[in-house]
């Protein structure tokens, strides 16, 4: 019976949430009455700007970003985020599982990973720019690092928390060690690992934008950096809103996919985590 209501829950849009967005726009609109457009553009002008800059932004060509618009910049940024989240999740999850099982490896890796996770991105970014250049690689690797740290912690904790009775039971039923990994360890930790991926994904958009701000040729972050130099507040708002919308949509899609993959778990209910 709980299953049906959950199915409906996935597609339901919370009216309170819509009211929250509406309220924010109202406050924004009210503030524009008090502030000059150079500090705070009106919501309608920002929407118009998104429309104008979507395919090709004229202003950007004045600052050396020829033939680009919000759409293809966003695609560039989104591609980097997807590659980074996929790669970082894979590396972090495998490392987390290995360290949960082998205590010597854990003793070596734990301090290193924990230290890496605490380095501010602003400190790390210049090194990556020197080592990997201003192409895609640098920004992607920067995000990979933080995603991997988050997934390392989530996967390790999930494997630690998995009740050993499942493994013992599987062995008494005739499972091989390989089957234990594929049939017990991985599915048994999926809800927590997917939860970790969702958190990492949410953070990855911001990290990718910062990485692009600090040094890149393309991307939404690059646009923001260029427009910030020209104090084009309206353009920055337009770029930020596109980035924010894509991040929200990607989180919603991730939630949908995860609810399906971990349908067996109570934690898979939307809004349940």
């Amino acid at each position: 019976m709980g299953r049906k209501s959950r199915r409906r829950g996935i597609l339901r849009i919370d009216p309170v949430g819509i009211f929250g967005v509406f309220l924010l726009i109202m406050i924004w609109q009210a503030l524009t009455l008090a502030l000059p457009p150079s500090s705070l553009p009106t919501p309608s002008s920002v929407v118009a700007r998104i429309g104008r800059d979507f395919i090709r932004a004229e202003e950007l060509s004045f600052y050396g970003l020829a033939d680009t618009g919000l759409l293809n910049s966003m695609i560039y940024t989104a591609t980097n985020v997807m590659i980074a989240v996929a790669l970082g999740s894979l590396v972090g999850t495998i490392a987390g599982f290995v360290t949960a099982r082998f205590h010597n490896v854990r003793a070596i890796l734990d301090p290193i990973v924990m230290t890496m996770g605490t380095i501010p991105i602003l400190v790390l970014a210049p090194f990556f720019l020197i080592w990997f250049g201003v192409e895609r690689m640098s920004a992607v690797l920067l995000v990979v690092l933080y995603v991997a740290v988050i997934l390392y912690i989530f996967a390790q904790r999930a494997a630690d928390n998995l009740d050993p009775v499942y493994e013992e039971y599987a062995y008494t039923l005739g499972a091989s060690s390989k089957r234990i990994v594929w049939d017990i360890l991985i599915p048994g930790t999926v809800p927590q690992v997917l939860g970790g991926i969702r958190i990492a994904l949410a953070g990855a958009w911001g990290l990718e934008a910062i990485a692009e701000l600090l040094g890149a040729q393309y991307g939404i972050g690059k646009i923001i950096q260029v427009l910030a130099g020209a104090t084009d507040v309206q353009g920055i708002f337009a770029a930020l809103i596109v980035l924010g919308l894509v991040a929200v949509i990607s989180d919603g899609l991730a939630a949908l996919v995860f609810a399906h993959v971990a349908a067996w778990s109570a934690a898979a209910r939307p809004g349940g985590n």
Binding site: G2, E168, Y169, T172, G174, D183, P187, W264, S265
Partner: protein, 277 residues
């Protein structure tokens, strides 16, 4: 060394000691010897921490004994095998597999074809009365239903030795009684083709009297009594009132420290004691 025909399990000088967190060495089992016949239903009873679960884990192959030998069939047990199925005290049904996939998991591990294993799993699910929830997730099931799934799984897997570690301890009285019937029915049915030896750990004296052919009483890592129950099956409430059953019950209660032992006879009776007072 080969076991004689007819003997399913043989323990020789079996000992197991643990080092507790405070560094003290504790004997969970000390020099235990026993033999169990093929097809026998044996209950292991005793107070908490007397080594019953440890013994079951050694038989399952999940734990190696500190010393001594444990043989099942003709082989010394060194690791788990699908020949020795186990129903754990905790819920061990995999929450990430649908009920039917749980029941056929052991068969899948051994490479049984998907059609054949599905048929076997459906048969046993039907036998435990859960055919209607084959496609459900385990979290949608009650505690009693999960135990039925675990019982169906070990039977579907075709183990010749079934190890049950207080499987129904957490269940209510009615559910527990239903599960006794399910277990005994499956044990009797499948035993016709291939004898199924059962070792059933419990705290519950009535449960042991209803189920067992034989009761082994454990205390501080040793077997202190070995009772044969010859009462016919199926056993009913009336069976439990037979004089020999009542006497056995008093004996078991005395072993558990719930009644005092009568000097001389070895038998105990609270009624006799009351009369003496």
């Amino acid at each position: 060394m080969r076991l004689e025909n007819g003997i399913a399990i043989k323990a020789s000088q079996l000992s197991q000691s643990f080092r507790r967190a405070d560094g003290q060495l504790v004997d969970a089992l000390s020099s235990v010897n026993f033999e169990v016949l093929k097809g026998q239903f044996v209950c292991l009873i005793g107070p908490s921490g007397c080594g019953k679960t440890t013994l079951l884990q050694i038989i399952a192959g999940l734990l190696l004994p500190s010393s001594g030998i444990l043989e099942v069939g003709n082989q010394v047990v060194t690791r788990p095998s699908p020949e020795r199925g186990m129903v754990f005290q905790k819920d061990s049904v995999f929450p990430w597999m649908r009920v039917i996939n749980n029941v056929e998991y052991g068969l899948a591990c051994r490479g049984v074809g998907s059609g054949e294993r599905r048929a076997i799993a459906e048969h046993y699910l039907e036998r435990v009365g859960l055919a209607h929830v084959a496609r459900a997730w385990p979290r949608e099931l009650s505690g009693g239903m999960l135990k039925r799934v675990a019982v169906a799984t070990v039977f579907a897997n075709g183990a010749s030795v079934l190890l049950l570690d207080e499987p129904f301890g957490a269940l209510d009285y009615v559910t527990k009684r239903h599960l006794h019937n399910v277990l005994l029915t499956l044990w009797a049915e499948t035993g016709r083709n291939k004898p199924r030896t059962v070792l059933f750990v419990t705290h519950d004296v009535d449960e042991a009297l209803i189920l067992a052919d034989r009761i082994l009483v454990f205390h501080t890592g040793r077997i202190v009594d070995d009772l044969a129950l010859v009462a016919p099956r199926p056993r009913t409430t009336d069976t439990l009132l037979m004089p020999q059953m009542v006497q056995n019950k008093h004996l078991l209660l005395a072993h558990l420290g719930l009644e005092t032992k009568q000097a001389g006879t070895g038998a105990t009776s609270s009624i006799v004691r009351a009369a003496n007072d």
